[in-house]
């Protein structure tokens, strides 16, 4: 009578098969769920904003602690370099200072003239306002999205959609904010489009990121003056996010499309300014939709001044 092991093995095998089947179904469901999430993200890109903010708040402190010793070492090196090169730099700076003083006198006269002209014309300029000064904590290079984290968040008044400006020029704009930290979309991201104007010719265009070191210039508007290598680009103030006149970059090749090297790099930016959006678009209440047909008398009564009823 050797029948004992057979039933047990078959039930174990059945169990294995069932488990494998359940595993395959769960795997398929999970992958399908991921694709559904993607479609949701396409329809509603701002979903999960709070969760993103929480994740930012969790990671930013880690990197600000981890990078502190490296920052210290870098500062020591640059301090030593300052001492070694002090004399030659001092001479160069004195020469520059003399030129700058002459420029400054001319600029003061221009400023007076401009102020009086504006008074005549009643030009209204929105004021720029600094929301926060923060340091760039980290910038991801492990992802297809080019972004940096800064150590200032909703607690400091930083929300999404604010311009971020470094000492040398534009860095990017904020896209997400947690309580203590915010994420900056850098100029080099493929989703970044900055309205710029060429300072020499006044031609307007968009500076578009390509996930490469340089930006490209697209959608040029206005008189077709040929570009020159070395032309500088500043923000034009169109679109209402970036204030006008902030350096964006320099043309380094005039092929098609023209390539732009960014003025500021987030590498050595250190501290950056987060400003209020230059001219945020006003929120307009949509007029209530009227489905019901309105009688002509009622419409006329609305249009003409109401007569006293009595």
């Amino acid at each position: 009578m050797d029948w004992t092991p057979a039933p047990r093995r078959s039930s174990a095998m059945r169990r294995e098969q069932n488990l494998a089947l359940v595993g395959a179904v769960v795997s398929g469901a999970v992958i399908a769920g991921g694709l559904v999430l993607l479609l949701v993200a396409r329809v509603n890109p701002d979903g999960a904003a709070r969760m993103r903010g929480v994740m930012l708040d969790l990671t930013t402190p880690v990197w600000s602690v981890v990078r502190a010793p490296f920052d210290g070492a870098g500062r020591a090196i640059s301090w030593a370099g300052d001492y070694l090169g002090a004399v030659s730099r001092n001479r160069a700076m004195e020469a520059e200072l003399a030129e700058a003083k002459a420029d400054l006198q001319r600029a003061a006269a221009d400023r007076r003239a401009l102020a009086s002209l504006r008074k005549l014309d009643k030009v209204r300029d929105p004021a720029r306002r600094v929301v926060a000064t923060a340091r760039i904590v980290s910038a991801t290079s492990g992802s297809v999205v080019r972004s940096a984290m800064i150590a200032a968040g909703r607690g400091d008044g930083v929300g999404p959609g604010l311009p971020v400006i470094g000492a040398d020029g534009l860095i990017g704009r904020t896209i997400e904010a947690g309580a203590l930290s915010a994420r900056v979309l850098l100029l080099t991201d493929p989703g970044s489009r900055v309205p710029v104007v060429v300072t020499r010719t006044g031609e307007a265009a968009l500076a578009v990121g390509r996930n490469t070191p340089n930006l490209v210039m697209q959608d040029r508007v206005g008189a077709d003056v040929p570009l020159m290598v070395g032309d500088t680009l500043v923000t034009s103030g169109d679109g209402g996010v970036f204030p006008p006149g902030i350096p964006v970059g320099m043309i380094i090749s005039i092929g098609e499309p023209p390539q732009i090297r960014t003025a500021a790099s987030p590498v050595g930016a250190g501290y950056v300014l987060v400003e209020a959006a230059y001219l945020p678009l006003p929120v307009v209440d949509a007029p209530p939709a009227l489905d019901a047909p309105v009688p002509i008398e009622a419409r006329q009564g609305k249009a003409s001044p109401a007569k006293p009823q009595s």
């Binding site: 039930s11 059945r14 169990r15 069932n18 595993g23 769960v26 795997s27 999970v30 992958i31 769920g33 991921g34 694709l35 559904v36 999430l37 993607l38 479609l39 949701v40 993200a41 396409r42 890109p45 979903g47 999960a48 969760m51 993103r52 994740m55 990671t59 880690v62 990197w63 990078r67 760039i136 904590v137 980290s138 910038a139 991801t140 290079s141 492990g142 992802s143 297809v144 999205v145 080019r146 972004s147 940096a148 984290m149 896209i175 997400e176 994420r183 979309l185 080099t188 493929p190 989703g191 390509r210 996930n211 490469t212 070191p213 790099s265 987030p266 590498v267």
Partner: protein, 183 residues
């Protein structure tokens, strides 16, 4: 269909039950070590092209070879969700791809079990290339198209980083699940 290794549940008091459940903490090690790799990928290395290797994908790949039971597709999915949140990508890009990667490895392991290290490396290389191409496609599907060519840098660095990730996971594997550990 009964589990013959189940503990004598009715005979245990509360403290023993707690100890029994906490004794399973090692099951979370593959997921946690992969999450650590995700966190490392947000390191402040500021290069204007995406050059940082896809450590998280390699982590999912290696763990689903070493511990297929502890890195099933749904765990890879959760790791991918965290990666999406951390990398500011649309929710679902990495989640879908990591889960698919774990599933593909499972199929490949069933097909070609017990293979050499260089075969794994080649499989990882192929997987990274497919991953980047699908990332490009899924980003376009999610409405945020990115150019494909800069992702080539990440393919190169990821293939080069495979031995590092394999050594890291193997070290954890020996420490946590090695022969001197009773499981």
């Amino acid at each position: 269909m009964m589990n013959r290794n189940a503990p004598p549940w009715r005979l245990m008091d509360a403290a023993e039950r707690r100890r029994y459940w906490w004794g399973h903490w090692r099951m979370g090690i593959p997921a946690l070590s992969t999450l650590l790799l995700v966190l490392v990928m947000t390191a402040p290395l500021v290069v204007p092209v995406p050059v940082f290797p896809q450590l998280a994908l390699l982590g999912v790949f290696v763990w689903s070879i070493f511990q297929p039971g502890l890195m099933p597709p749904w765990v890879a999915f959760l790791v991918g969700l965290v990666a999406d949140l951390l990398f500011a990508q649309p929710l679902g890009v990495n989640a879908t791809l990591f889960a698919s990667a774990a599933g593909v490895v499972r199929v490949l392991e069933n097909r070609y079990g017990h293979h050499a290290y260089n075969f794994d490396w080649g499989m990882a290389a192929a997987m990274v290339i497919v991953f980047e191409v699908l990332t490009w496609q899924l980003m376009a599907l999610a409405g945020k198209p990115v150019p494909l060519l800069p992702l080539g840098w990440q393919v190169l660095t990821s293939i080069a980083a495979y031995p590092l990730v394999a050594a890291y996971c193997a070290r954890i594997q020996r420490r946590a699940f090695g022969p001197d550990r009773a499981r």
